[in-house]
Symmetry: C2
Subunit: 459 residues, 2 copies
């Protein structure tokens, strides 16, 4: 589970059978002692655990399974596990296991072996950069052990500690530990709301920048996740272009996290990569400020493989990443296997088609359950999540404290989902739900539990 995965690691490690202390006790001890012998910066790792994370620990101990229908339904993890079996089988068939390449056991170039960067280039050119006019080349790609890890390296390259990065909200709560916790860089939230189709107006961008400047924070980059996590929205070419122009004309880097690019199941708004937008409309110098992140984790449901990539035309960034990548190397035989799988065009085409069909169908099924139970939602067109609107369960003039109270009630009622506050939503009452990692049998149960809570609260 995402919260567990990200935030409760310490507990799992330290409250094993042998320690005999509860997670809460241990955490308290640790917090007290930390300042004495560990670095101050390492406290950031602890402080990044949100109140929601902490509250959910209990709920994680009794999870819904096929045989435990009264367990808690945890839908906080953006993972698509539906075709894992097919992928695992293909992974096992890779030539690398039976016809090993001895060089794979040696030190290799930190940026990734040539075949995996070539395979990623081909794959991205087909499934992400759909214009086809501005293909990325293997030598514009740096790989690492997951998009999380390469994002850390990219932040390292574009911002010093105490600088600021503007991030278009709402955004994935995991950005905070990466950008702020580890790299010491301030996140400047760029607010959006439905009135501007969840995309920042020039005013919103200007205002965010002014606020940063007022606080003495030097901004160096603007970042977005397109398609949006948590909204599941695809932003239009025109939206992207105006914002990329706003950023690059100020000399800011523009970072586009496009890890969900191939999960678009409703192409009413066609997905256009920041790479294509920049290549089509910007000067070569400005194009050097645009960087795209991609990895197979979401399209193929394989975050456990740890593969991510920075795509950039900027020779300076490529040079820095070539050095920084020594910390973020993926096992070479695994790179080779991923290269083989991405190059198997029949497998990939079939896998992507099935995934998209399934996502669309699951989304229809989930949203129809929501409708049946009278729960409002923001209709997604991509991604592995649906934002539901529970404002009707909050008091009038609600605060984020009220939202947190509701979050706790939801947890207690067996519904663990991400509160909007953690994603910097513009107002309280929006929750991110990740239904696609669990079977459809959960959808009705989850919606029913929310509806029951609604009935309880309004009775």
């Amino acid at each position: 589970m995402q919260y567990a995965w990200w935030s409760h690691g310490g507990n799992e490690l330290s409250t094993g059978e042998k320690s005999g202390t509860s997670g809460t006790q241990l955490k308290t001890n640790v917090q007290t002692q930390l300042t004495s012998s560990l670095s101050k910066r390492s406290l950031a790792i602890h402080n990044m655990q949100t109140a929601a994370d902490k509250y959910a620990v209990k709920a994680h101990k009794n999870l819904w399974t096929e045989t435990n229908h009264s367990g808690n339904i945890v839908m906080t993890l953006a993972e698509n596990r539906n075709f894992n079996e097919r992928f695992a089988q293909r992974l096992g068939e890779c030539a690398i296991w039976t016809k090993p390449i001895l060089e794979d056991l040696h030190y290799n170039h930190p940026i990734g072996v040539q075949p995996v960067r070539e395979a990623i280039a081909r794959h991205v050119n087909q499934y992400v950069f759909k214009m086809g006019k501005f293909p990325v080349e293997a030598n514009q790609i740096v790989t690492g052990n997951g998009v999380l890890a390469v994002l850390e390296n990219l932040i390292y390259a574009v911002a010093d500690a105490d600088d600021g990065i503007l991030v278009i909200a709402p955004f994935w709560h995991g950005f905070v530990p990466i950008i702020t916790g580890r790299m010491g860089v301030n996140i400047i939230v760029v607010k959006t709301d439905p009135s501007t189709y969840w995309w920042p107006s020039k005013n919103a961008l200007d205002e965010a920048l002014r606020e940063a400047n007022r606080s003495g924070i030097k901004c160096t980059a603007l970042m977005v996740c397109n398609p949006s996590n948590p909204l599941g929205k695809v932003f239009s070419e025109q939206q992207m272009l105006s914002t990329i122009r706003w950023a690059t004309s100020r000399g800011f880097h523009f970072i586009s996290d496009e890890i969900y690019a191939a999960t678009v199941f409703d192409d009413t708004v066609p997905f256009v990569s920041a790479w294509d937008v920049a290549s089509e409309h910007l000067s070569p110098q400005q194009q050097h400020l645009v960087h795209v992140l991609w990895g197979p984790s979401k399209d193929f449901g394989v975050p456990g493989l740890r593969m991510g990539a920075i795509l950039t035309k900027n020779p300076q960034v490529l040079n820095v990443e070539a050095g920084a990548s020594v910390f973020t190397m993926t096992s070479t035989p695994m790179q080779r296997a991923i290269a083989e799988i991405l190059s198997d065009s029949t497998f990939v085409a079939d896998f992507m088609r099935k995934t998209i069909t399934h996502l669309k169908q699951s989304c229809d099924s989930f949203t129809s359950e929501l409708r049946r139970h009278g729960i409002n939602y923001i209709a997604p067109s991509a991604g592995l999540f649906v934002v539901i609107d529970l404002r009707s369960l909050l008091p009038s003039r609600p605060t984020f404290d009220d939202e947190f109270d509701l979050y706790k009630k939801l947890c207690d009622a067996g519904v663990v989902i991400t509160p909007g506050n953690d994603c910097h939503t513009p107002e309280p009452g929006l929750f991110r739900v990740c239904p696609f990692g669990l079977p459809e049998t959960c959808y009705s149960l989850l919606s029913g539990r929310i509806a029951d809570l609604h009935a309880d609260l309004t009775s």
Copy 2:
């Protein structure tokens, strides 16, 4: 090659066929432009390239091979490739490829799956912690993608930027980019020399600490690599104990990099882990300050797999690493394969026996070539390197500049080895040679080239 691997990444990436610029030209351009749009800290990655690295670029373009005997012999990489074939075959036989575990494709706990931590515990308890009295447990182990990566995470936990870490010299030049370049922590060199068996006296430790304090640097840890890289020496239990006591009595962390623990081919001085020393002699509180690093890269000749581990009894460090490890995860199927291989006791015992036998024989063969050509050396008892003594090729009262001149002459004569200055040797003229990654046929050639250079210089 190690230099290439660490330092010349940028060139490979950016001076492909398309760029048409030489590495040197590009580097200059990059340096000029960097300050304008990249972070100041990212410059550290570039500045870490030593003068020796830069000079060796040319030599890397014409490498010795079985069919190019006039090529340059590069012996700067501590890698044992002699049993790669056997290992690759065993890797391919792992059950995980034919009987996949679907959970391996999912997000998993950043510290590593339970089976790999259990397998590492068993392996280390047999081959590293030889006392057998103080076994490490799986829940005291945090894994990551290589010892380099977990060392970065450990430094993050024990030191803030601008703090200092005392490092016993001579040491592996790669520590500098990790500790200083990325983590912003000062390295305080603790000098040693043959008069104290290459181990620091209390005076040397006190003096290094005083010097740090005089510069206003707060030291938080003492670090050593045992067996020593570059010396190939094993330090005695008594040496370790006195130094661990010196560190922990001051509240400093003690970091023992024991990646070469299972490469001891001459056990005149038995290897004793810092873990055992601390467990036997220190209070539980002091034991919390001792951390051991281990990985299979050297014993098995498999740095390309990217697996490393921190072993510690410190619950605070374990908690910080549980969070920090999200950046340093190894592919889960690869973790599972490594777990299976480490648990195959017949394979491991046979592999280790063959490796040790081969290392001993290769070392005998290499040093006998050195003797035959009149080249002095420091006899190693472990590791993948031999320090040779070329002081006779330097002028009287030599400086490290003289050593660098000799280094360049060696490069030009087809001998690429690491100058002592990069390892903080106490005086000029010592060079680290890594012979075991190349066939024995090179040994005579290398020694001959050095002898010829000697003849030229002294004629």
